[in-house]
């Protein structure tokens, strides 16, 4: 008998479930500090540069604070959708592809009307972007419901397909005819006001994507706590047989979860390409679709948690860039840092799901 034993709790501890992300962040800071030290940086300075300076440094703060919302919005939008599926045991890990396709379809819809000045252009693009992501997610959804094909592998394969489509359209179909042959579309943010996702309040980073992210969080919160569909999602994730017994149709759930996640990822792509990125180009996407997976878990698959986790993750992006600039830290270090965060979080889940017992219990006679 080992000295330390795990004992399954009848139900996960809610307090600890809420605490584990905090503990994981602390553990990651410690491990990250060690990593930074190995890379030759002062660990405390590195941590401060990543987590403190972007918000409070008098020199960088004014520039980087708005960036926080700009970076958090797509992460929150995508993660909110992914979390619905993850809760139900539906593993859509191809959000990056849905994000790209949302951007391509949405931008394409706008560019088709260039140089229209109609105020309907942008709303139309939003719809088209959501549709693009939704349609891309419907491929694994339909293959899963019709044939039982593994959605993990299909959705992931479709990321590579989407990247190739992106490469193709940015040098073909959507290429800027006035771009002197360079790949990349017209700049929507700069040269096409009707299609531009502008800042709603100047210098805050608050654009339409941020609004959409907040709406998505509220929508998901209400869905999960108050609506039958949310109950069905949780039930399917915890006890699939019980869900079927309760009359939940697995197919409808798959279509709903993948579809919602795809649409939200598509919206994120559209808001990104028409605002911060500005144009369709071969590398406009910056891996938000994958980072959002970490955000979803860090937020405990809970909408409010995701909101906070998205902001935190956005901070590590901005802080990482700052650390790159100030300390010469490699860009990959921050990616590693995010990976560590997910590991620590998953590892610490054990405390919420199991009791840790040390030694063999004494007999109570």
């Amino acid at each position: 008998m080992s000295l330390i034993r795990l004992e399954k709790r009848a139900a996960p501890s809610r307090t600890l479930a809420a605490l584990t992300p905090v503990m994981a962040v602390i553990a990651t800071m410690i491990a990250g500090g060690i990593m930074f030290a190995i890379l030759g940086a002062n660990p405390l300075e590195a941590i401060r540069t990543i987590f403190w300076d972007p918000l409070f440094d008098p020199q960088f703060g004014p520039y980087s604070r708005p960036q926080l919302l700009v970076k958090a919005a797509p992460l929150i939008l995508i993660a909110t959708g992914l979390a619905l599926g993850f809760k139900a045991g539906i593993w859509n890990i191809g959000a990056e592809g849905q994000y790209i396709m949302g951007a391509v379809v949405g931008a394409g819809a706008g560019l088709a009307f260039y140089p229209s000045e109609s105020p309907l252009i942008f709303p139309f693009m939003v719809l088209a972007g959501g549709f693009g992501g939704w349609a891309w997610a419907m491929i694994p959804a339909i293959l899963k419901t019709r044939f039982g094909t593994n959605e993990i592998l299909v959705s992931l394969m479709l990321v590579y397909v989407a990247e190739n489509i992106l490469a193709s359209v940015s040098s073909g179909l959507l290429r800027n005819p006035e771009g002197m042959g360079f790949p990349g579309s017209r700049n929507l943010a700069r040269d096409y006001p009707a299609a531009s996702n502008t800042e709603i309040i100047a210098n805050t980073g608050m654009h339409w994507g941020v609004v959409a992210a907040l709406i998505a969080v509220i929508f998901a919160y209400v869905l999960m706590t108050r609506h039958k569909m949310g109950f069905a999602i949780r039930l399917a994730g915890e006890a699939p047989r019980a869900a079927r017994f309760a009359g939940v149709s697995p197919s409808r759930l798959i279509i709903f979860c993948l579809g919602t996640a795809g649409a939200l990822a598509g919206l994120a792509g559209l808001f990104e390409v028409s605002g911060p990125a500005g144009q369709i180009s071969i590398d406009f996407n910056s891996g938000y679709g994958f980072t959002a997976i970490i955000v979803a878990f860090l937020g405990r698959l809970h909408p409010i948690g995701i909101l906070l986790a998205g902001l935190l993750m956005a901070l590590t992006y901005i802080g990482g860039e700052l650390a790159q600039l100030m300390l010469g830290m490699p860009a990959a270090a921050i990616q590693l840092f995010q990976g560590m965060l997910l590991f620590f979080l998953l590892a610490m889940d054990v405390f919420a799901n199991y009791r840790i017992r040390i030694g063999t219990p004494e007999v109570a006679t």
């Binding site: 139900a11 039958k228 006890a239």
Partner: protein, 517 residues
Amino acid sequence: MSTPYLALEGLTKAYPGVVANDNVSFQIMPGEVHALLGENGAGKSTLVKMIYGLVKPDRGAMRVNGATYEPANPHAARGSGVAMVFQHFSLFDALDVAENIALGMDNPPRMRALAARIREVSEAYGLPLDPSRRVGDLSAGERQRVEIVRCLLQNPKLLIMDEPTSVLTPQEVQILFETLRKLSSEGTAILYISHKLEEIRTLCDRATVLRLGKVVGAANPREKSARELAEMMVGTVLHTPSRDTTAPGEVLLTVNDLTLPAASQFGTTLKGVSLELRAGEVLGIAGVAGNGQDELLGALSGERLSAANAVTLSGKPIGRLGPNARRRLGLLAAPEERLGHAAAPEMSLTENALLTGDIREKLTRNGFVGWSKARAFAKKIIEGFDVRTPGTETAAGALSGGNLQKFVIGREILQRPTVLVVNQPTWGVDASAAAAIRQALLDLAAEGAGLIVISQDLDELMEISDRFSALNEGRLARAVPAKGLTVDEIGLMMGGAHDMHEAHAEDSPRTAQEVPA
């Protein structure tokens, strides 16, 4: 023969919150068939796990042939001559018989030699087996044979059998008993764990009775009546459910030549199942596990769809309707597996009340859940069915088996079903909860509902059924009045001795005598 083969001295094992075994002592002589008798939760399985090296005692000692015996793991236990036939969990469906047996041996011979040995030993003990068949394709009785042969190949001195007959038809039980008697006559001690009193009285030389982890008595079971043994085991005088017999009313539910392919690789196909259920009647369906019970429940609850006319409720075709549509019409069900099928273990009782109560109790409006209504419904179940729980927000998985089962059955009964289908309503439930559940089912029938009770417990079925039928390999026998049925007749309805033609089934007395001891 004065040294016992196995002696237990003051074995104690505690888990947080419960003392599973408290100062347990008894002895097993070579060649003795020793019964370990006790209710669910009395500590029988913890005790045998200690003997088999899966769990270490906190205190106490064991001796084998007088020498200290402290098995660190099952390998060590097998090395000392202890072998065990498990009730669940020790076969590998996708592997073949020989591979399964090799896994249970410490130094198995090469596969070809092993296959020959399997044939030889299994024939000698009247349990023929084909070593190359895939275990997932075998019947429950054959699967048990794999386990027994696996033990026999190692010439055990003590064979532990954990509830071996729960998966057998009465005829198969007779064959098993022949085998066990033969082993015992060869000097192998047998520790026979069961709560089935008649079996123990037929087979065993001595019985040790456990209650709440303690030895509460020892007896020669042949000298005690089943009732006396039962009262030792339960500790109180048992109450037999009572009912007022009513004349059966109009036909509520019919199943018409229902054929459904198996949903999973090792599932059972339902073949031409037909039945008719009238108001106020209890139809008992017996059968060994894995003969289509789950599938039949699924086809009735709406989890599996069929041709529209294959299932009708009050004359209406409902074969194409899903679970909630059927609930709306009054057809409710309670599946066998409490954790994960009838209830979601990590969800609260309120959420579990919503799980099936949504439609008939109107717990949602326009898709939005009325949580206070759901909580009130959960509370009503808890109070109405004496569910012991701190409250409605407790996770279902935290309840004991009996309490959760009362909750599950209560949840359906309180929704006033027209027809209720239950599978194994008292499986793994302590005697008092079982009696309460049976009484509740009978009361429901007395109020005019039709009940289908699927169970592997024949005593239970005989106690509460008006008519009786049995599932065998996906086929349902024609239902007959339960009164006056003999065990032999029931056994034949359940399929007699499955695939045991080569064994000593047909003429067991002769074969048993012919095999040299």
